[in-house]
C-alpha cells in the first residue's frame, strides 16, 4: 500500500472541516467514542447539528473560537491507499501554516464556495501550492447544493481558475463539484451532477499518480550521522547514515563526497542487519565506502557524474514565519539538509503580493506571512539544487541566532541576474 500526503486549504466558511470530517466518517476512520465526544461538544456549544469540524479542531482555544489555529494532521486509509492530511487553517494571518502543511504534501485540495467563486484567499492558497511545487491541485467547488448543482456555475468557476492556474504555472489541476455536507461526489458519485464526468474525490485521491518519482532524480545522500561501533566484532566498521533525498544508489557506484570533492566507491549499503544491492529515495540506509575518507554530518554523497550546485551565494523565495521582520544585513543560522551554516541576508529583491499575484519592487520590509525573493551569503558553500528540481536539497530554514526560533522557510531559485522568477 502506498502513502499519499495532501494538504487542504479553504477560507473560513468553505466547509473544509466538514469535508475532512466527511472523508474520515465515510471511510470509517471515525470511531464511536470520537463521534460521541463530538456530539456532546456540539450540544454544549449550542450547535443544532453534529459539527464535524469539532473532530479536527483539537485545541481548547480552537473549539472555543470555532477556528483552526495550527496545522493538524489527520490519517485515514482505504483498501487502496493510506492518506495523511495536513489540515491548514485558512485565515489570512496563517500563510505560514499553509506553507508548513504544503511542504510535505504531494497534492492540495483547495476549496471554493460555489456561491462566492474565486476569492482572494483562493489565489493565495493557489500561490502557495505553486510556490511549494505540489504536483496536483484539486479545486473542489463546494456547496453545490446551494446553487442547485448548476453546471454553469461550476464551469464559470473553472474558466476563471484556469487563467490563474496558467499564470501560476500549475500543471495538473482537477476540478470537482461537491457538497461536503451531503456527501455529493465525495466518496460516491452524485446523481445530482450528471453533467460531471470525472471521479468522486476519494477515488481521485486513490488513483492520483503519486509525485513525479523522486527516485528518478539525481542521487543525493546528505550524511546525517556516522555509525562507528566501538565493539570487537565490528572493529573496523564505519558507515555513513542518512536518508536518500532523491534518486537511487547501488553498490559499486563511483561517488564524490562534498564539500571536499573526495572520490570513492560505494562498498556496501546497509539497512540495519541487512545488506542491500541498491537503495532508493526516501529510504534510510547506511553507506560504506571503499576508501578511508573524511566524511561527517553535513557532507553530501553524490554520484560523480551528477554533481549538484555548490555555492555560498544563494537566491531564495522565502516565506517569513516570525513576528520579528527579516533584517537585511543580519546574521542567521541556516539549516539545509543535514548541514548547518551561518548566513547573511544580503538583499530583498522584491516582495510578492499574493492577493494580486504581483511582484512588488522597492518594499524591503519582510514581515510575518510575507513572501519575498531574497539573496543570502552563507559562511560555507551549500551543496544544493534548485527547489524546482529537488524539494529536499532545494529547501532550507532560517533560524534566529538569538531566540533559535525558525523564522523563515526558503526555496532556492536562480539568482535574479540569471533569470527572473515571474508569477
Amino acid at each position: 500500500m502506498e502513502l499519499l500526503r495532501f494538504t487542504t486549504a479553504g477560507s473560513v466558511d468553505d466547509g473544509k472541516s466538514t469535508l475532512i470530517g466527511r472523508l474520515l466518517y465515510d471511510s470509517k476512520s471515525i470511531f464511536e467514542d470520537q463521534m460521541e465526544a463530538v456530539k456532546a461538544a456540539s450540544e454544549r456549544l449550542g450547535n443544532e447539528e453534529v459539527n464535524l469540524a469539532l473532530l479536527t479542531d483539537g485545541l481548547r482555544a480552537e473549539r472555543e473560537q470555532g477556528i483552526t489555529i495550527d496545522v493538524a494532521y489527520r490519517y485515514f486509509a482505504t483498501p487502496k491507499r493510506k492518506f495523511i492530511i495536513a489540515d491548514t487553517p485558512g485565515h489570512i494571518e496563517y500563510t505560514r501554516n499553509m506553507v508548513t502543511g504544503a511542504s510535505t504534501a504531494d497534492a492540495a485540495i483547495i476549496l471554493v464556495d460555489a456561491r462566492n467563486g474565486i476569492i482572494e484567499q483562493t489565489k493565495r492558497h493557489s500561490y502557495v501550492a505553486s510556490l511549494l511545487r505540489l504536483d496536483y491541485v484539486i479545486l473542489a467547488v463546494n456547496k453545490m447544493d446551494l446553487v442547485d448543482f448548476s453546471e454553469e456555475v461550476f464551469n464559470n468557476i473553472k474558466t476563471e481558475y484556469t487563467a490563474i492556474a496558467e499564470k501560476l504555472n500549475l500543471k495538473n489541476v482537477i476540478y470537482i463539484p461537491i457538497s461536503a455536507r451531503d456527501g455529493d461526489n465525495v466518496v460516491n458519485a452524485s446523481d445530482k451532477t450528471p453533467w460531471y464526468e470525472g471521479q468522486p474525490l476519494l477515488s481521485l485521491l486513490e488513483s492520483l499518480p503519486v509525485k513525479e518519482s523522486i527516485e528518478r532524480l539525481k542521487a543525493r545522500f546528505p550524511v546525517q550521522y556516522v555509525i562507528r561501533p566501538q565493539s570487537d566484532e565490528f572493529h573496523d566498521y564505519r558507515a555513513y547514515a542518512g536518508r536518500l533525498a532523491s534518486g537511487r544508489v547501488k553498490v559499486g557506484d563511483k561517488v564524490t563526497i562534498l564539500s571536499s570533492y573526495t572520490e570513492s566507491t560505494i562498498k556496501a549499503i546497509d539497512e540495519a542487519d541487512k545488506s542491500l544491492e541498491e537503495a532508493y529515495a526516501p529510504q534510510s540506509v547506511a553507506i560504506r565506502l571503499s576508501d578511508n575518507v573524511d566524511v561527517s554530518r553535513g557532507d553530501m554523497i553524490v554520484k560523480s557524474d551528477e554533481l549538484p550546485r555548490v555555492d555560498a551565494n544563494i537566491s531564495l523565495l522565502v516565506c517569513w514565519l516570525n513576528h520579528r521582520p527579516l533584517s537585511i544585513g543580519a546574521k542567521y543560522i541556516i539549516r539545509h539538509t543535514t548541514d548547518e551554516v551561518f548566513g547573511f541576508i544580503k538583499d530583498v529583491y522584491y516582495k510578492v503580493n499574493i492577493n494580486e499575484l504581483e511582484n512588488v519592487i522597492g518594499d524591503k520590509l519582510v514581515k510575518m506571512n510575507d513572501i519575498a525573493h531574497i539573496k543570502i551569503k552563507t559562511s560555507k558553500p551549500l551543496k544544493h539544487d534548485l527547489y524546482a528540481e529537488n524539494r529536499v536539497t532545494g529547501s532550507l530554514v532560517i533560524i534566529d541566532e538569538a531566540t533559535f526560533e525558525t523564522v523563515g522557510a526558503g526555496m532556492i531559485v536562480d539568482s535574479l541576474e540569471e533569470q527572473t522568477y515571474v508569477i
Binding site: 461538544a41 482555544a61 529536499v392
Partner: protein, 300 residues
C-alpha cells in the same frame, strides 16, 4: 522496479531519520520507554537506526508503581538484549518525598502524577531530548504536535506558539534549561503499528494477547482488578478472557474482552473495532481537553 516504498517502509524510513537527527542534534537524549507497543516499536526502530552500534541513548521508564508485572519483566529483558542503560523514575518516590500527593477515591490514578516524576527525572539527568512514542492519530491535541516539540524551562508545551516545522528539516536548538520532546512515530496510526509489528515479527508482552484475568466493569469499561483498587459496592470482580489494546498504568487501562491469540487476530480485531484505542483510557475522559491540559503541563 518499484517506484515507491510501501507505506510501512516509508514510515519506518521517516522514523529512523528522526532518531538519527536526535542522536546528531542533542547532547543527552533519552528514550521514554513505557513497555507499551508504541515504545517497543520505537526501541526496535532505534536498534535499526544505529546497527551495528548500540543505541546511543538510555531508556527512561516512569514507573507509577501500578504497572502490570508483565510489563516490567518485558522491559528488563529488552534492555538486556539491546545492551542499553535503563533509568527508572519512580512515582512512589515522588509521593514519599512529598513532591506529589496521591489521589484518593474510586478513580484514583497515578497517571497525572507521572508528569512531576518525568520532569524531575529529565532534570536530574540533564536530558535535553526525550523521545516519546506518541502518535498524532491518538488524540486530538496530539494531532497538533510537531516531531520536534519544544518545551520551556518549566517543561511546558505551548500549543499556540509552536515552531513551524517544514519539509524534513528539524530545528532542535534551545536555550539552557529547555528541552525537546521528540515523536518519531508522529505519522503512524494504530493499524500501522500493528502491521509493522507483524512485518518485523516483534516480540510483545503477553498482555497484548488473550489471557484470563480478574476484571471488573466501570462506566462501560473493563478494568483489570488489583487489590489496591477501590471497588464500588455495585462492582463485581469476575474472571474473563481479555487482552490489552493499549498498556498504561493499571488504574486507567481499559482491557478488551478478546480471544485474539496471534498478531493476525489482533489486526482483524482492530480493523473491525468501532472505538479508538484510547476509548478505554479513563485518563483522557476526565474532560474534553484532558490531554491538552496534561501535555501543556509536561505530560508525555
Amino acid at each position: 522496479m518499484s517506484d515507491r516504498l510501501t507505506h510501512l517502509k516509508e514510515l519506518e524510513s521517516e522514523s529512523i531519520y528522526v532518531l538519527r537527527e536526535v542522536a546528531a542534534q542533542f547532547e543527552k537524549p533519552a528514550l521514554l520507554f513505557s513497555g507499551g507497543k508504541d515504545s517497543i516499536v520505537m526501541a526496535h526502530l532505534a536498534y535499526k537506526a544505529f546497527y551495528p552500534a548500540s543505541i546511543p541513548f538510555p531508556f527512561v521508564h516512569i514507573d507509577t508503581g501500578h504497572n502490570f508485572e508483565e510489563t516490567i519483566t518485558y522491559r528488563d529483558d529488552l534492555v538486556k538484549k539491546l545492551g542499553v542503560k535503563l533509568i527508572v523514575g519512580s512515582v512512589q518516590e515522588s509521593i514519599d518525598a512529598g513532591r506529589v500527593v496521591e489521589e484518593t477515591g474510586y478513580n484514583a490514578s497515578r497517571n497525572k502524577l507521572q508528569t512531576v516524576t518525568l520532569l524531575d527525572t529529565l532534570e536530574k539527568y540533564k536530558f535535553d531530548a526525550a523521545l516519546g512514542g506518541a502518535r498524532r492519530d491518538e488524540e486530538k491535541a496530539r494531532a497538533k504536535e510537531r516531531f520536534f516539540s519544544h518545551r520551556d524551562e518549566f517543561g511546558q508545551w505551548d500549543p499556540k506558539n509552536q515552531r513551524p516545522e517544514l519539509w524534513n528539516i528539524f530545528n532542535g536548538k534551545k536555550q539552557l534549561g529547555e528541552h525537546f520532546r521528540i515523536f518519531p512515530l508522529s505519522n503512524w496510526t494504530e493499524m500501522d503499528v500493528w502491521q509493522y509489528i507483524l512485518q518485523e515479527d516483534i516480540e510483545l508482552p503477553s498482555l497484548y494477547y488473550t489471557h484470563e484475568r480478574e476484571v471488573f466493569e466501570r462506566d462501560g469499561t473493563w478494568l483489570a482488578y488489583y487489590p489496591f483498587m477501590q471497588l464500588k459496592p455495585s462492582e463485581q470482580v469476575i474472571r474473563k478472557r481479555i487482552r490489552c489494546r493499549t498498556i498504561g498504568d493499571i488504574t486507567c487501562t481499559g482491557v478488551t474482552i478478546s480471544e485474539a491469540n496471534t498478531l493476525e487476530d489482533i489486526i482483524g480485531e482492530i480493523a473491525s473495532s468501532r472505538v479508538t484505542e484510547r476509548g478505554g483510557r479513563s485518563d483522557d475522559k476526565r474532560s474534553e481537553a484532558a490531554m491538552e491540559d496534561r501535555k501543556k503541563a509536561g505530560y508525555f
